[in-house]
Every structure is written in structure tokens, then in C-alpha cells.
């Protein structure tokens, strides 16, 4: 550990981290991390999911304690025992997942995090003034539950700025924003830098890092693999540093869909919200033809999860023809009934939804296949043919290149990417006619992502209909033949990929474009 930094050197930097290490059980999430943040810079922390970025910033913010290593603030060694210590020093944090009470107003949420007991009126006034001066307009009296994700993020940022921090940590701030909202955020960050504040910017989006950040530290498997100036790098060279090797993107052969059979159709699907803050589905129409991949874009929490549940049959419809699979009414069928019509589903959540964590891979194969492959996997009297199930699981492992440490490990023992490859492979192995996937590569490393995307394209080109719900626009542009956008529980008309641009999709994601829904489109 580098404990021999001289006082002058250390005094120059706002934050200096030497040899910071955090171990969870057998996993070393952060392994001797060195990081220096100067005053008035935007410093990027780059790395794939699972590289250790979140663990590192949690240690910097005092919500996790390191096993070893030291943190210096303005040259002084400090010990971050809790977030309140970090706040007192002048570190503010905007989390990827917001910690706001939906039933309270913006001002009330801000007041909760300030310990000074100031009256709510003065807090609201301060928040309003601050928000306008930074170009992030915010109404402090609005109820958080009614606000969009971008507006909620503003509350978090304002809340952080009210404490006049020297260092602001932003964890994947643009993952929930439309491209236009992100631009707005970048302007604010540049202003903060001009005022001499430092920003630690965590992201895996390389273009925005190149545009915004002065320096970058790249993490891979919990270790620092390099420091660089992102402006002197290309997106490809940064990706190589993050991933460790060249990343190839999926190849999509063009296709004409004239006269192709409609395999999945949704006609006027509506769904009441399941809870006070969950999204209703409003009159959704869509159709996917044989050979086609339809992408559904949208900012998180605009009804994508609800749509997946409705399509999979985990929640059934009131009218049988609201969802049709291979031309047959499926609205009143449960998930098993829809699978028997030839549909396959991959949910967003891997552990606990798509797979049972404490069960073996072979048992997790049986989970979604016991009915569709009843003859192969289940014998007379309901006895499971465990030999056949095991063989099939091994076949999927081979085809999808699933890396694992034991012949038939528990699902929870696999890394996220490898488990996702298995779950996608489990459904592809059936050659489904209709495949519905929610967030196919969420939290999956680049190599595995490319593999999964290519497999989805090949399935479609083989004559199946594929519906991909994703918040990753790059992914949708890479694999989709058309993209529709979900906003506020409504689905836009699909835009053919040839006509789709980031800007056009981004406007739809923000709900700002006219003609968001079919009816509106007709009157526009």
C-alpha cells in the first residue's frame, strides 16, 4: 500500500485513495484501488457491471467500510465510518437507485436528509432558487410519486447541492434519462466544474465520458487497469480497457417482412395499476411478424415490467383476444398455456424470477420446460427424468458457452452474465416461435452480451418473432428491425430501424413528441 505520499503532493488533491480493498466472502470486489481526484475536475470511473465501481464509491461515501487501504481528504487521512461523516467532509452522492419517498413532496424529501431542522418553507425556497440557477427547474411542492424519473433525479441532485459539497459522486446518472435530459445534466455538471467543484462520474457509456470527463480511471474485476485522458482515447480503446479484449457487435442481416405471418399481436391491451405507484398499461397495440425483432425502448418504470407480465401470462387479460400468439387467442391463458402455444419468456430479474437461486442449473432448466418438453423430461406418474434434464442442461451450457465451476452448480453460483446466457439458452433450445425478452443483457459483460444478441437475431432470422424490451438504446439499434417506445404506460407506433435516430427515439422516451400513441398520431 502506498503510504509514502508526501504531504505536499497529497495536499494538492481533493481526494486520494491508496490500496483500498474490500472483500465479500471469497470475492475481492475491490483489490488495492488507487484513485486521485483533483479539485475542479470531472473524473470518470469506468468499468463493466461487476467491476467494483459501486463498491468503491460506497466505501468513499461511508456506507461500506474497507478491509484495508487509506483515504485522504485534502491530504488528511480520514475514516469514513458512515455517510454522515462523508457528508460533513463535503462529499455528496447521487445514487443510481433513488432513495425518495413517493408519497411526500420534493421539499419534504429534501428536508428529511438535512439534519438542521430548518422550516420546510425556507428549504423549499432555497431548493427552488438553487434548481433554477443550475438550469434544473424543480417544483418543490410537487409529489414525488407524480414526477418522472428525470425529475426525481433532479431532486437528488438538488438535495446533494444544498449541502454545498466539494465532491459530488454520480452513479450511472444517465441510465434513467432520455438523451435530451442527459444533455441538460451535462450542462449542469460543467457549470459545477467551472465553480471549482469536483465530480466523480460513474458510467459505462463511453461517448458521454469522452465528452464530459477530464480524466478516467478504469476498473476491471476489482482492479485498476489504467488511468487515462478519455478525450485522447476512442470509444473502442476505452472499451478494450474495460473488457480486456476486442468487442464485436452483432451482425444483423436486413430482412423484408412483406407477407410474413404475424406471430405475436397485442390488440388494445390495458391493465389497471397493481399498486399506488405502479404504471397502468393504456391501450397497447403491437404486432411482431415471423423473422422480425421488435425493440421496445423507454426509460425505466414506464410500464415495461407490467407489459412483460401481461404478455407472459403471469398476469392474465380480461379478454381472450387482447394477446394473440400464432394467431390463437391467448389472453386468458396462463404462462404454461402460452408456452404450449410456442412462446418463450426471459424476464428482467435473473435470480428469483427467471431462475431459482438455490437450485441446480438442471432444475432451473426444468423450471420453464417441464410442460413444453413434458415427454422428454417427465416420465409416467410425474417422475422427473433427471438424466435427460441433466443432458439437456449440459447441451445448453455447451452451445451458449456458460462458464461454471461445477458440473451442475446452483444458479446463484454463476456470474450474472453466465446465468443470463443459460436462461436465454434454455428458451432458445426450444426453438420458440415467439420469444419475449425483457432486458436481455442487463448487467451482462460485453462478450456475453454480443453472444446473446447474436443468438436473438439468429432466432428471428430462422422464422420466429422476437420482442425485446430494453433500456439500452445502443442494444436496440444494434438488433431491432423496428423500435417502439413506451412512455407512461403507452406504446408508440413502431419506427422502422432505417428511419429511427437517437434523437427521434429520445423525444418519444421523454413523452415530448407529438403522436405518441396511435390515436394522437392520426390527429397530428
Amino acid at each position: 500500500m502506498g503510504g509514502t505520499v508526501s504531504a505536499q503532493e497529497a495536499a494538492a488533491s481533493l481526494l486520494e485513495v491508496r490500496g483500498l480493498t474490500k472483500v465479500f466472502g471469497t470475492l475481492t470486489a475491490c483489490d488495492h484501488i488507487d484513485l486521485t481526484i483533483e479539485k475542479g475536475e470531472i473524473h470518470a470511473l469506468l468499468g463493466e457491471n461487476g467491476a467494483g465501481k459501486s463498491t468503491l464509491v460506497k466505501m468513499l461515501f461511508g456506507s461500506l467500510e474497507p478491509h484495508s487501504g487509506e483515504i485522504r481528504w485534502d491530504g488528511q487521512p480520514v475514516r469514513m465510518t458512515s455517510p454522515s461523516v462523508a457528508k460533513k467532509l463535503g462529499i455528496g452522492m447521487v445514487f443510481q437507485h433513488f432513495s425518495l419517498f413517493e408519497a411526500l413532496t420534493a421539499a419534504e424529501n429534501i428536508a428529511l436528509s438535512l439534519d438542521d431542522g430548518a422550516p420546510i418553507g425556507s428549504i423549499a425556497a432555497k431548493a427552488r432558487a438553487l434548481s433554477y440557477s443550475y438550469g434544473l427547474p424543480l417544483d418543490p411542492d410537487s409529489l414525488v410519486g407524480d414526477l418522472s424519473v428525470g425529475e426525481r433525479q433532479r431532486i437528488e441532485i438538488i438535495r446533494c447541492l444544498l449541502q454545498a459539497p466539494q465532491l459530488i459522486i454520480l452513479d450511472e446518472p444517465t441510465s434513467v434519462l432520455t438523451p435530451q435530459e442527459a444533455d441538460k445534466l451535462f450542462e449542469t455538471l460543467e457549470r459545477l466544474r467551472a465553480e471549482g467543484k469536483s465530480i466523480l462520474y460513474i458510467s459505462h457509456r463511453l461517448e458521454e465520458v469522452k465528452r464530459l470527463c477530464d480524466r478516467a480511471t478504469v476498473l476491471r474485476h476489482g482492479k485498476v487497469v489504467g488511468h487515462c485522458n478519455p478525450r485522447e482515447e476512442t470509444a473502442a480503446s476505452l472499451a478494450r480497457m474495460m473488457v480486456g479484449n476486442e468487442v464485436k457487435s452483432a451482425e444483423r442481416t436486413p430482412i423484408t417482412l412483406d407477407g410474413a405471418q404475424e406471430l405475436l399481436s397485442v390488440c388494445g391491451l390495458s391493465r389497471k395499476p397493481a399498486g399506488p405507484f405502479s404504471m397502468p398499461l393504456k391501450n397497447i397495440w403491437l404486432s411482431v411478424k415471423a423473422g422480425e425483432i421488435l425493440g421496445i425502448a423507454g426509460v425505466a418504470g414506464n410500464g415495461q415490467g407490467e407489459l412483460f407480465e401481461a404478455l407472459s401470462g403471469e398476469v392474465q387479460q380480461t379478454s381472450a383476444d387482447a394477446v394473440r400468439i400464432r394467431g390463437k387467442d391467448a389472453g386468458k391463458l396462463d404462462i404454461t398455456g402460452r408456452r404450449l402455444l410456442g412462446a418463450a419468456f426471459v424476464p428482467e430479474e435473473r435470480l428469483g424470477h427467471g431462475a431459482a437461486p438455490r437450485m441446480k442449473l438442471s432444475e432451473n432448466l426444468l423450471l420453464s420446460r417441464y410442460a413444453t418438453d413434458g415427454k422428454a423430461f417427465v416420465g409416467s406418474g410425474g417422475m422427473v427424468k433427471s438424466g435427460a434434464v441433466y443432458e439437456a442442461a449440459q447441451r445448453i451450457v455447451r452451445i451458449m458457452d456458460v462458464r461454471k465451476s461445477a458440473p451442475d452448480p446452483e444458479a446463484a453460483a454463476l456470474s450474472g452474465g453466465n446465468l443470463q446466457k443459460f436462461i436465454v439458452g434454455r428458451e432458445l433450445d426450444r426453438q420458440p416461435t415467439v420469444m419475449i425478452v425483457n432486458q436481455p443483457t442487463w448487467g451482462v459483460d460485453a462478450g456475453a452480451s454480443a453472444h446473446i444478441r447474436q443468438a436473438l437475431i439468429e432466432l428471428a432470422r430462422g422464422g420466429s418473432a422476437v420482442l425485446v424490451i430494453s433500456q439500452d438504446l445502443d442494444e436496440l439499434f444494434e438488433i431491432s428491425d423496428a423500435i417502439a417506445v413506451m412512455h407512461n404506460g403507452e406504446l408508440s407506433k413502431p419506427i422502422p430501424i432505417a428511419e429511427a435516430t437517437f434523437e427521434r427515439i429520445g423525444l418519444l422516451m421523454g413523452g415530448a413528441a407529438p403522436g405518441h400513441v396511435y390515436q394522437k398520431l392520426e390527429t397530428a
Binding site: K22, F24, G25, T26, L27, A29, S54, L64, E65, P66, H67, S68, G69, E70, I71, R79, T81, S312, E314, D334, I335, T336, R339, F345, P347, E349, G352, H353, G354, A355, A356, P357, R358, M359, E363, L366, L367, S368, Y370, A371, V378, G381, G382, M383, V384, S386
Partner: protein, 370 residues
Amino acid sequence: MRLELVKRPQRSMLFSALSPFIAFALTVVAGAILFALLGINPLTAFYTYFISPITEVWQLHELAIKAAPLILIAVGLSVCFRSNIWNIGAEGQFVFGAIVGSVVPVLYPEMQGPFVLPLMLLMGMVGGAVYAAIPAFLKTRFNTNEILTSLMLVYVAQLFLDWLVRGPWRDPKGFNFPQTVQFNPSAVLPELMPMSGRANLGFVFALVAAVLVWILMSRMLKGFEIRVLGSSPRAGRFAGFSFNRMVFFAFMLSGALAGLAGISEVSGAIGQLQPSISPGYGFTAIIVAFLGRLNPLGIVAAGLVLGLTYLGGEAAQSVLGISDKVARVFQGMLLFFVLGCDTLIHYRIRLVGLAPAPKLDASPKLEEAN
């Protein structure tokens, strides 16, 4: 200073297997201290408690009689517990099964023949299953806590039995004792080896049930369904399994086995209904299920161990002159140590000082890799 439990990165297979034995050894040590405090030589006490009840063949028969209901009930409970359904009311299902199964010999004593006994057993199983369906219905319909409802139904069943044997079902020629008529011979569960002891068919039922449930849980799709829904309900729903159906299945299966245990006990070991027909088998079976690691085959061994504590308690009462409640103390300690050992397989204990340590190398938090 405070204690914290820290999750272990992985379980030790060795200690998982040894855990029941370590728990038993700790129970013996704690028991020795207990006896010493009572002024009894621990060696004498243990001989009386654990060895003397099984030194002769007829005593092994008695052990089988005690173990049979424990195994039957615990095998059913293991299905419930594996599916994360907390059926604490097996004692009530045991009693209710015994009542329903006794309808024929008590109300229609003139009915005799080879069909009587199978009919009684069947009715006992149906009675237990129906009684267990009540908490299942309440849970699936109103989302009530099955621990409370199933436990409260135990007292309902016990008091109903008490009322029956003191009131409408009392033997008119029984000198006003609170008990029913003695069952006629065709309503009595046959003994296995009448020459050497009293053990009856109930023990065979227990072994058969253990093997069948083991096959169900480890080899059949239905068992897979139960395990999936028990360990991750959302994945179970994704698989297309119905949680509500499984709640009824688990409750009614364990209720049927408890009911079978109840009617077997009444028609075999007792021979009539009386106010109390169980020394707490339904509750002790919870210990048996966990000591047997919720594995039906492990439960057979655990049932024999716990059956021995009942016999030891009786022996200790007659030989050493101490209360037979000592048996309950032993059972309680055993459950305590079993659960303690199981917890320590998954977690380790960490001592945490309240004052902040001056150095950066401590990580005193209950944490998990995400």
C-alpha cells in the same frame, strides 16, 4: 460490545452432515449439568434415560410405538416446511384425524369385518386433511398467518375431543369415566410380532410414508414444484406453478399424515378415545422434522431419537424419581442446539466493539456481496 452474525461465503459440507450429532452431543453435555445440579450422578441419569429403555426386545417395541406417530407427522411437516409453509398445528390435525377415524368403532360398534380398519384409517386421513385445509383456506383467501391459525386450531381440536368423550361419545357403561367404548377387535390395529411386544402396523405406515414422501420430494415433478415455490415464489410463478394450490397440497398432505398418525395411535396403542391421546406428538414432530434436516429418511432416525426421550422420561420418573417433564426439557434443548448449529453453518459470530477502532482494517458490518 455486541454480537453480530456474519454470513459465511460457503457452507461446510462436513459440518452440515455433522450438525445433528453435534447438537445431540451438546444436549447431552447440557443435560449432564442439569442432572448434576439436581444432585443426580449424570452417568446414572444417562444410563436410565437413554440406555435402560432399550435393553430388552419388548422395550424396542415400545420405542417403535412412540416413534411411529413422530415420524408420520414429521414427514408430512417436512413437506410443509420445505415449501415455506409453517404448519404448527399438526397436533390438532392428529387429534381431529383420530376423532373422525373413530366415528365407526364408537358410533357403529356393531359394524365388524376386515373393511372396518381400512375405512377408519381412510377417514382419519381425510379428517386430518380437512382440518389442515382450514388454515390453508384462510391463508390463500385472506392472507392470514398460518402459524397462528394452525396453532389455535390445535386447542379447538383438543377441546372438541374433550367435550366428545365427556359428553355425547362417553361410554354409557364406563362408570362415568371420560372415555369412549373400547374399540372392537376388528377396529384395532394389528400388532407386528405379538410374541415379543406391542409394536403395531403404525410403525410400518411411518416407514412407508417416509419412503414415499422422499420419492415425491426428490424424484417427482410435484416435489420440484413444492421446492421451487418454497424457495423462490416468483420463479415458481414464472414456471407456471400455482402458489395457492401448493399451499393446499402441502397442508392437506401433512394433515392427512398427522390424521393417520392420530387414528393409528388411538386404534393401536390406546384402543379407545380419551381426553388426552397425545403427549404432544404434533409439537415434538417439529423437532423431529428439523433434526432430520427435513429429509424424510433422516426423519426416521430423528423420530427414533425423540421417541427415546419419551421412554427415558418415563424411566427417569420411576427409577430416579424426577418429573417426566425432564423429557420436555431434553426435547427443548435438542431443538435449541439443532437450530443453533444450523445457524452457525450459515453464519459465523463476530464480536464488535462499540468504540470506533482507530485503524482502517476492520469491517464490522453484517454484509453480503450483492
